[in-house]
C-alpha cells in the first residue's frame, strides 16, 4: 500500500499546481465580460446554426472495434508482466487468443469498415 502513497502525493501536487495557476491568473487578469465573448468562435463572423452537428457514424464503428482491441490489450498486460514465469505455454495460449482476434480484424477489413469514405 505504501508504494502507492507517492502516487497519491503526485496526484495532490498535480491538482494543486493547476488550482494554483488558476488562482494566480484570477489575480492578474482584467475582468471585463460581455455577451459576444460567449459565442462560438467563427473567425470573427457571426456563427450560423448550432454547434451540435450529426457525426459520421463511421466514427462509431471505429470506436466499437477500438473497445474490442482495448479489452484485448487488457489481457496482454498481465501476460507481458508475468511472461518470465509463464513460459512457452502462455506464449502459445496468447498466440491462439490473438489469432482469433486477428480473424476479426481481417473480417472488418474485408468488409470495408476500416476504409474512410
Amino acid at each position: 500500500m505504501d508504494q502507492y502513497l507517492s502516487v497519491l502525493i503526485f496526484l495532490l501536487v498535480g491538482v494543486g499546481i493547476v488550482l494554483f495557476t488558476f488562482f494566480i491568473a484570477r489575480l492578474i487578469r482584467p475582468h471585463n465580460p460581455y455577451k459576444e465573448k460567449n459565442q462560438t468562435y467563427e473567425c470573427a463572423e457571426a456563427p450560423v446554426g448550432n454547434s451540435w452537428v450529426k457525426f459520421n457514424n463511421h466514427f462509431y464503428i471505429f470506436a466499437l472495434i477500438f473497445v474490442v482491441f482495448d479489452v484485448e490489450a487488457v489481457f496482454l498486460f498481465p501476460w507481458a508482466v508475468a511472461f518470465g514465469q509463464l513460459g512457452l505455454f502462455a506464449l502459445v495460449e496468447m498466440i491462439i487468443f490473438i489469432a482469433i482476434l486477428v480473424f476479426g480484424l481481417y473480417y472488418a477489413w474485408k468488409k470495408g469498415v476500416l476504409k474512410w469514405v
Binding site: F89, F103, Y107, K110, K111
Partner: protein
C-alpha cells in the same frame, strides 16, 4: 505441462472453425451463393454431431470442461435446433437479407458453440462465459432486419434485458464464490455444505445469491416473472432465430440451471432448508409460468406471439420435472427438452414458410390452408398437438414423465395445476388447427417450400412420431444423464 485432454473439445473447436470458414467463404465469394453457404452450415453441424459421437466422455481443463452424459445429451439438442433453424432460414436469406448472409449462419454457429461450452461447464466462470457466448450472437440475430422497426426493437430489448440479467446473474455467482471460496461447482457444493454446518445456517447472503442466480437464469429461460421480454422479442426477431431462441437458448438455460442448482446447490432444494429452499421458490414460479403463459396465449392473434406465450408455459412444465431433483426429474426434463426441440422447431419452421410465402404472421391468415397445402397443414397439426401433449405423439410421453417426476417428489398440487393448464393450452393449439381445416377457403395461399425446409419438417414429424411410439432409447439416455448428479 498438465494434461488438458484437448481431445474432448474437438467438436466445439471444429464448429467454431467452421463458423469462421462460413464467414470467410461468404466474404470471399461476395455473397453470390446463399444456398451453398446454408448447406455448408448444415453440413458443418452434422459433422460436429459425428465428432461429438467420436470424442466424448471425460474431464478436461481441471474440471472446467466436463464431457459427461448430461453435456452430450444437451449438445445433441443444441445441434438439432441449430440444424433446424438454419434449414428453415433459406428463403429468408434469399429474400430478406441481402447483406451479411455468411454472418447470419456464422452467428448461429457461434451461439451454438456457446451453448455447447455452457453445457460442459463445470465451473462458474466458464459457465458464465458460455452463457454470454450463447446470448450475444442472438442479440445481433434478433435485430437482423435492420430496416424493420419491430426487429430492431426486438434486438434492442433483448440486449438490454440480456445485459441486465447477466449483471444480476454475475452478482449472484460472485456471492456464491464469496461464500464458498471456489468457482468449481462440485467444490462449491462441498464448501457450502460445510459452511452451513459450521455456521448454523448461512442465512441471507446465500438466499440472495440463490434469488439473484435464479433471476439471472430465469430471464434467459423466460420464466415468469422474468418473461416480459419474450413475446416482443419472439415476434420481432427473424422466425428461425425465434425458434433457436425458444429451443436452443432455452435448453442452454435449462442445463445451466441444472449445473448450478441441482449440482452446486443440491443440498438446498428441500423444504427443510427454509428459507433457502429453492425447490419451493421454483415450484411457485413454475405454477405462475403455466397459468400466465397459457392464459395469455389464448388471446394472441399472431402465431409467433402465441408460440412465445406457449413456450413460457412449456418452461413451466419443464420446471415441474426440475424441482423434483431426482433421477426421474432430471431425466424427464432432458426428455421433455428433446421432444420440445422437434415440436417447437417444426411449428416455427411452418410459421417461417408461411411468412415467406404470404408475408403474414396472423393466425387468421392460416384459414383454409389445408385445402391448398395439405401436407404442411398436417405437419403443423402434428407439431401443435404434440406441444399440447396429445397421445400417441411424443409430447404426451414428455408431459407424462415430467408429471410423474413431480408426483414422485411430492409436488402433487403443482402437477394438478399443470394438468388443468394443459387442458387450457389445448384450446389455443386447436384453434390454429381449426383455422387450417375448418375455416372457409382462402384460395390465394399456395406454399412453396425449399428442399432444406422440407428436410426440417420431416425431421420434426419423424422425431415426434418415432419417439412418441418408442420413447425408450431416448428416455434411457436422458435418465442416464442423471448419473452426473449422483442420482
Amino acid at each position: 505441462m498438465p494434461d488438458y485432454n484437448l481431445r474432448l473439445i474437438i467438436p466445439e473447436i471444429f464448429l467454431f472453425l467452421w463458423a469462421l470458414f462460413i464467414i470467410a467463404f461468404d466474404l470471399g465469394t461476395k455473397r453470390k451463393n446463399p444456398k451453398l453457404i446454408g448447406y455448408l452450415t448444415m453440413g458443418g453441424i452434422a459433422a460436429t454431431a459425428v465428432l461429438l459421437y467420436l470424442y466424448h466422455g471425460g474431464i478436461s481443463f481441471n474440471n472446467m470442461f466436463k464431457s459427461d452424459p448430461l453435456a452430450l445429451f444437451f449438445k445433441v439438442i443444441f445441434l438439432g435446433s441449430a440444424f433446424m433453424a438454419v434449414g428453415s432460414s433459406f428463403d429468408i436469406i434469399a429474400q430478406k437479407i441481402k447483406n451479411h448472409r455468411g454472418e447470419f449462419f456464422g452467428l448461429v454457429l457461434f451461439s451454438t458453440v456457446g451453448m455447447m461450452f455452457l453445457a460442459s461447464a463445470g465451473e462458474l466462470i466458464s459457465l458464465y462465459i458460455g452463457l454470454e457466448l450463447t446470448t450475444i450472437p442472438l442479440f445481433i440475430l434478433a435485430a437482423y432486419y435492420k430496416d424493420d422497426r419491430i426487429s430492431v426493437e426486438a434486438g434492442l430489448k433483448y440486449l438490454v434485458i440480456g445485459a441486465f440479467s447477466s449483471a444480476i446473474l454475475l452478482y449472484g455467482l460472485s456471492l456464491l464464490y464469496g461464500l464458498s471460496g471456489t468457482t468449481d461447482i462440485v467444490m462449491m457444493k462441498i464448501n457450502l455444505a460445510l459452511l452451513y454446518l459450521n455456521t448454523n445456517g448461512i442465512g441471507w447472503a446465500l438466499l440472495m445469491a440463490i434469488v439473484m442466480v435464479l433471476a439471472g437464469i430465469g430471464f434467459k429461460l423466460a420464466l415468469v416473472p422474468f418473461h416480459m421480454w419474450a413475446p416482443d422479442v419472439y415476434q420481432g426477431a427473424p422466425t428461425p432465430i425465434t425458434a433457436l431462441l425458444s429451443v436452443g437458448s432455452k435448453a442452454a438455460g435449462v442445463v445451466a440451471f441444472m449445473r448450478i442448482f441441482i449440482d452446486g446447490l443440491y443440498g438446498f432444494a428441500d423444504a427443510v432448508m427454509f428459507p433457502l429452499d429453492w425447490g419451493n421458490i421454483v415450484a411457485v414460479l413454475a405454477a405462475a409460468a403455466m397459468i400466465l403463459g397459457n392464459i395469455s396465449a389464448l388471446r394472441q392473434k399472431n402465431i409467433k406471439r402465441m408460440l412465445a406465450y406457449s413456450s413460457i408455459a412449456q418452461i413451466g412444465y419443464v420446471m415441474v420435472g426440475m424441482v423434483a431433483v431426482s433421477e426421474l426429474g432430471v431425466g424427464s426434463v432432458g426428455y421433455y427438452m428433446f421432444i420440445y426441440l422437434f415440436a417447437n422447431m417444426g411449428a416455427f419452421a411452418v410459421a417461417t414458410i408461411f411468412n415467406d410465402n404470404t408475408g403474414s404472421d396472423s393466425i387468421a391468415s392460416y384459414a383454409g390452408l389445408s385445402k391448398s397445402s395439405p401436407m404442411i397443414s398436417a405437419f403443423m397439426a402434428i407439431f401443435l398437438l404434440s406441444l399440447a401433449g396429445i397421445p400417441p405423439l411424443a409430447g404426451f410421453a414428455a408431459k407424462f414423465f415430467v408429471f410423474a417426476a413431480g408426483i414422485q417428489a411430492g409436488y402433487t398440487w403443482l402437477v394438478i395445476l399443470a394438468l388443468l393448464t394443459a387442458v387450457v393450452s389445448l384450446y389455443y393449439y386447436a384453434n390454429v388447427i381449426k383455422m387450417m381445416y375448418f375455416a372457409p377457403d382462402n384460395p390465394t395461399i399456395k406454399l412453396n417450400t425449399p428442399l432444406s425446409a422440407n428436410i426440417v419438417l420431416i425431421i420434426g414429424v419423424a422425431g415426434l412420431i418415432i419417439f412418441g411410439v418408442y420413447p425408450e432409447p431416448i428416455l434411457n439416455f436422458a435418465l442416464d444423464t442423471a448419473r452426473v448428479f449422483g442420482f
